[in-house]
């Protein structure tokens, strides 16, 4: 595994306006508020967070589905945010995408061979039949089925088709936006194994976005925990689980029930106060202070400043929460 940096996101900010009622005026939602991520070749970075964390917005920003306000998204040294038109398009062949819902991420009126070949056609390739058959084989589907329509396949099979489409241009990076959340448990396992397999074979990097920590852990080397537009803790997956330092990470891990009754009985439940605040009106100072079980008095007043600091080699935690235990 080479240490070549494939993706480098620097201080990414994605804000959008949600105009509410006539009375409250325009609201600015700071969906992503200063994000930094590095992914090397052949590695998986897991991005975890709940609703409102901004993790899906990160994916959309990289895929050019939303406009980013500032920052850099460097794919192999080139900043995607500064590219346009055909230059952007030729760079886009290096990025693939897998989406959450296998039922709506494939055009119901297109044959699957056309769905899978579309990224190749965008890049100008004309003779795609052989490629499609190879891709179908690679994702574990019968290559004689290329003339069928999506509704003739099950959820798990459709997700495989989506994966075939994502790897068709031989990309260096694939953005996986909750790729298994909508699948049954037994199918989930098959898809996760496939993703791992393909990563080994093709040396692809994944940005794996999910809300389920146990799934993320299975695939990821490094994990970043997002809350309200910021990463609050980032480390390799072993460390995140063996030594979580941010109170939110601890609560997140504690909230996920492990399918093992003895372990669950020993677990002490950490209650978390309240609900996730609205992203259009995040708390001032540390965004987590409204739900922190033990905030310092500075924190409660909204006076603490956020920012990741390296508490141990390669383990970053937001500085204002390092002290709240």
């Amino acid at each position: 595994m080479s240490n070549k940096k494939i993706l480098e996101i620097k201080d990414l900010k994605v804000f959008y306006e949600s105009s509410r009622s006539f009375f409250t005026g325009k609201n600015i939602v700071k969906a992503v508020n200063g994000l930094n991520i590095d992914i090397n070749q052949g590695e998986t970075f897991g991005l975890v967070g709940e609703s409102g964390s901004g993790k899906s917005t990160v994916a959309r920003a990289i895929l050019n589905l939303v406009k980013s306000n500032s920052g850099e998204i460097n794919l192999e040294e080139e900043n995607l945010l500064k590219l346009k038109g055909s230059k952007l398009r030729s760079k886009q062949k290096q990025i693939g995408a897998i989406f959450q819902d296998p039922y709506s991420s494939l055009n119901p009126r297109m044959k699957i061979k056309d769905i899978i070949a579309e990224p190749l056609r965008v890049q100008g390739k004309k003779d795609v039949e052989e490629d499609v058959k190879n891709l179908l084989k690679m994702v574990g589907l019968d290559n004689r089925m290329d003339n069928r329509f999506p509704h003739e396949f099950s959820g798990g099979q459709r997700q495989r088709i989506g994966i075939a489409r994502a790897i068709s241009t031989n990309p260096k990076l694939i953005i996986c936006d909750e790729p298994v959340s909508a699948l049954d448990v037994s199918v989930q396992a098959q898809i996760l194994n496939l993703l791992k397999d393909l990563q080994k074979k093709l040396n692809i990097s994944y940005l794996f976005i999910a809300h389920d920590l146990s799934v993320v852990k299975y695939l990821s080397l490094k994990i970043g925990v997002m809350y309200l537009g910021k990463i609050v803790e980032m480390a390799d997956s072993e460390t995140i689980f063996s030594n979580p330092m941010h109170p939110y990470t601890k609560i997140l891990i504690n909230s996920i029930p492990v399918p093992d009754p003895k372990i669950e009985r020993k677990k002490k439940f950490i209650p978390i106060k309240g609900d996730i605040p609205s992203a259009s009106n995040p708390p001032a100072g540390c965004v987590f202070r409204t739900r922190c079980p033990n905030p310092t008095s500075d924190c409660k007043d909204g006076k603490s400043e956020m920012g990741l600091i390296e508490v141990e080699p390669d383990h970053w935690v937001d500085k204002c929460c390092v002290n709240c235990k």
Binding site: F99, S104, S105, N107, H151
Partner: protein
């Protein structure tokens, strides 16, 4: 296909439309007489064995005129609908997909156009453009554009946020190709529904225009103008001159409306079914 014929109304409508089609294509073979030939011996005669629908004020055979009227009616109606739906479809697609200023302006224009009754719009246009086949077609077509734009636009709005469209955007597919490959095909079903529903209306508008004397030429037989003649001669109204074209109009419009309903019933659930599965 076979269960299409099980519903008696649908069967009836398809039968009517088939007959109309035959009449439209082969009027000269079926019509008993020349529709323009004036027969001064049989002026204003009621239905009889020689003239099953009677003759008009200059002795022309009503039945033949009704039959020749089918072709005129169908051509104008289809042309108007095709014209208005094509423009409306393209405009709706662009407005829905690109949004922004173009969409805002489109919506305002659509609102204005929808607030004017189609007939008034057609009258105003004819007053400006003068009479004739082409101008009548345009006049009828203009009234049908706004509604189409609105329906197609709302279809586009719901489709353009679907993950498979986003997937195409993320790949770098050109916007025009996204519209033609991913969005337009899903809008064909609502387009067909609205097109079939408008045919009845287009036929009726044309008949009304002819009735008011603003239709095509006074000699070419159209059902509306045939009925108008009776109104002019109210002192001696001869019922058969108006009633037979009137029946033809009613039956034709009804058949198209029923087919339109059937089409909507079949296409709507299928449309929902395919996206949701």
């Amino acid at each position: 296909m076979t269960n299409l014929l099980k519903n008696p109304l649908t069967f009836f409508s398809i039968l009517i439309l088939s007959i109309l089609l035959i009449l439209a294509i082969f009027p000269s073979q079926i019509a008993p007489m020349d529709p323009q030939k004036a027969n001064y011996d049989a002026l204003r005669s009621p239905p009889s064995r020689d003239h099953i629908m009677g003759t008009d004020y200059v002795g022309r055979d009503i039945a033949s005129r009704v039959i020749y009227g089918v072709r005129t009616t169908l051509i104008i109606a289809f042309a108007a609908v095709i014209l208005s739906k094509t423009i409306g479809f393209a405009w709706g697609l662009a407005s829905g997909y690109f949004g922004g200023w173009f969409d805002l302006v489109t919506e305002r224009i659509v609102e204005i156009m929808l607030s004017i009754p189609g007939l008034i719009l057609a009258l105003l246009l004819l007053a400006g453009l003068g009479s004739g086949k082409i101008t009548v077609i345009i006049a009828i077509a203009v009234g049908g554009i706004a509604g189409t734009v609105r329906i197609i636009r709302s279809s586009v709005l719901s489709i353009k946020n679907m993950p498979y469209v986003e997937a195409a955007k993320a790949m770098g597919v050109h916007p025009i190709i996204i519209i033609s490959r991913h969005i337009a095909p899903q809008c064909i079903a609502p387009l067909l529904v609205i097109a079939s529903a408008s045919l009845g209306g287009a036929i009726f508008t044309e008949a009304t225009l002819s009735f008011l004397g603003l239709g095509i030429t006074p000699n070419e037989p159209t059902w509306g103008s045939m009925m108008a003649v009776v109104a002019e001669n109210y002192l001696r109204p001869l019922w058969w001159i108006a009633v037979f074209p009137g029946i033809a109009l009613t039956v034709t419009i009804m058949a198209f409306n029923l087919i339109g309903d059937e089409l909507r019933d079949r296409l709507d659930p299928k449309l929902k079914g395919e996206i949701k599965d």
